[in-house]
């Protein structure tokens, strides 16, 4: 951990937290040097910190304030007289339905990604190093490629009389129409976020101590038993990280359902957007945004606790 790697412990340690092995009292010159160093740090950080304060923290505060505001009859937002009306409206059947649908489709996406990505990452991690590096590049390209264009490609492929439909007709399966259905949305989200699942799983499998699997086999565990009792628990941190990384953007997804979904697949992301566009109900949109942000923070906190646990637990000690 950092303290061990700090090459200059005395100067780098904060003055406010006395270490158990406190060094000899500092000379005035040392104290001045330390103060100067703290000032330098604050100075270097300040432009970026100020930017984030103005263009991120203030907007975050504002949307929270808006969530307690009132929508006037003309669709404007009145900030006088805070209330919980917007939060109460979230309990409406319509909105609960939208949230439930978003969560369900995000859950399906996550499960599908996990089922496909785990064996895929396993395959990658067990290739010889040179081939592995090349295959990894092939995985990284879609990961970095313009997400909108990739979703557009799916839309094009699935479109009425599009290439997929033409192929299925030529093969005698008849036309199929899945565009603008929940199936298309899940397919698009799996396509968009699959690499988010592959990469953490790959890292976990690659770092895993394979000798533990061999040990299990030597002790006459069957292949599947060794997999479920050794490999899967050892890669748990990758599984959780991948699931969080897929679930979070799927739940808040806006572009995918807008392009691939139909009237029946209104998800929370689109619903929030509508409140700020045609519906002109900013307080409700703000309240839903706050809800989404809180949900995301919980998911990320779960992931962080999980990875902290994974680091603390020695390999092979579940």
């Amino acid at each position: 951990m950092p303290p061990l790697r700090r090459a200059k412990p005395a100067a780098a340690q904060p003055a406010t937290s006395p270490e158990p092995t406190a060094p000899a009292p500092m000379t005035p010159a040392e104290i001045a040097a330390q103060r100067r160093k703290r000032r330098t740090g604050a100075l270097i950080a300040s432009p970026g910190a100020l930017y984030l304060l103005i263009f991120f923290m203030v907007p975050l505060g504002l949307i929270t304030v808006y969530s307690f505001a009132t929508r006037t009859s003309t669709g404007r937002t009145s900030l006088s007289g805070w209330n919980l009306n917007s939060y109460e409206r979230i309990a409406d059947d319509v909105i609960v339905g939208i949230i439930a649908r978003s969560a369900w489709l995000a859950f399906l996406t996550t499960v599908l990604c996990l089922v496909v990505a785990y064996p895929f990452a396993y395959y990658l991690a067990t290739r010889p190093p040179r081939l592995r590096a090349r295959l990894l590049v092939l995985v990284m390209i879609p990961f970095w490629t313009n997400g909108l264009v990739r979703i557009f490609a799916i839309r094009f492929l699935l479109g009425s009389n599009g290439p997929a439909s033409a192929l299925s007709e030529a093969m005698g399966f008849g036309t199929f129409r899945i565009l603008f259905t929940p199936t298309a949305v899940v397919l698009g989200m799996v396509y968009g976020f699959l690499t988010f699942m592959v990469l953490p799983l790959y890292v976990a499998l690659e770092r895993m101590d394979w000798r533990l699997v061999e040990a299990a086999r030597d002790l006459y565990a069957s292949g599947s038993k060794a997999f479920w009792r050794v490999t899967v628990p050892l890669t748990r941190s990758g599984i959780v990280a991948g699931c969080v990384l897929v679930f979070v953007p799927s739940f808040g997804s806006y572009v995918v359902p807008e392009i691939l979904g139909g009237a029946k697949t209104l998800l929370i992301g689109s619903y929030v957007a509508r409140q700020f566009q045609a519906a002109r109900n900013w307080p409700l949109g703000a309240a839903l945004s706050v809800l989404v942000i809180v949900a995301m923070l919980v998911a990320v906190a779960i992931n962080q606790r999980n990875s902290a646990n994974a680091e603390r637990t020695p390999a092979g000690m579940p």
């Binding site: 740090g41 950080a45 432009p47 599009g162 290439p163």
Partner: protein, 278 residues
């Protein structure tokens, strides 16, 4: 006997693994490849193949809306990349090297723009600019959403991505090199210029490329902070898709695809460890 059984099971599971890998690669690449092929289709209708032709590329580049959106995209991407690379690198350096007031708070908030879904960040910024404009209108000129607001928003999320990438690089940094420079009486600035900066340069470059990619890719945040006068290319494509797929959109998408693949290849080349070329 049982040995033969396990060998067979092992072989079949190996085949399954390989089949799955092929399936994943096909799944990832087939839609993109089909899109690229059809972008060279001569036909007016997207779904009828009529022979190869670069016709739609010409049409796309002749469309003034597309060209002006492309211009906005490039201005926003370059400006936001430059600013966020400087600010993000400074934040990463400060967080990695120094203890100062508010360090913990900064450490916590710097990750938030990465975690928050696009749509919430977009509406946050929309509300922010609406309120800011109300304030500014009182004292001065009437402002509207446009290139400036898109750029300001892109910097807000790119700072975080640059800071995270550069910090990862600083994490593997050999501090003794800096100490050696100091022991040889180099001033702090000189140490930074001649030792620290060259060593973290690949990290900074990777961060800048990520910022550029994210800025060129962004749809949602741009859509909400763009004004009637100025939209970016992804926003143009996004709003056009909703009205239907056209061959021209195929061509524009292929161009965007080519741009992002060029950026990936560049960044992968940068991240390749130097040790392989002695």
């Amino acid at each position: 006997m049982s040995n033969l059984g396990t060998a067979g099971a092992k072989r079949s599971s190996r085949h399954l693994l390989r089949a799955n890998a092929w399936f994943v690669f096909a799944f990832l690449y087939v839609p993109i490849v089909v899109l690229v092929i059809f972008s060279f289709n001569d036909s007016e209708r997207v779904n009828v193949w009529q022979g190869l032709s670069p016709r739609w590329y010409g049409e796309a580049l002749g469309n003034t809306q597309v060209v002006s959106a492309l211009r906005v995209s490039l201005i926003v991407a370059v400006t936001s990349t430059v600013v966020s690379t400087v600010l993000g690198t400074a934040v990463a350096l400060a967080l990695d090297r120094y203890r100062f007031k508010g360090r913990r708070a900064l450490d916590g908030t710097v990750y938030l723009p990465i975690v928050i879904p696009d749509i919430t960040m977009a509406v946050m910024l929309l509300v922010f600019f609406a309120e800011a404009f109300k304030l500014i209108d009182v004292i001065g000129p009437r402002l509207t959403l446009g290139v400036t607001t898109i750029t300001l928003s892109h910097i807000a999320f790119n700072i975080s991505f640059v800071a995270v990438v550069v910090r990862a690089r600083l994490d593997q940094f050999d501090r003794t090199l800096e100490e050696a420079a100091r022991d040889l009486y180099a001033t702090p600035w000189r140490t930074f210029r001649r030792v620290t900066l060259p060593l973290i340069a690949p990290g900074i470059a990777a961060g800048a490329l990520l910022a550029l990619t994210l800025s060129l890719d962004d749809v949602v945040i741009s859509a909400f902070t763009a004004g009637p006068g100025a939209t970016t290319l992804p926003v143009y494509v996004f709003s056009s898709i909703r009205q239907g797929v056209t061959p021209e959109l195929n061509a524009i998408s292929t161009l965007m695809l080519a741009a992002s693949i060029t950026l990936v290849v560049a960044s992968l080349a940068l991240q390749r460890p130097r040790s392989t070329t002695p």
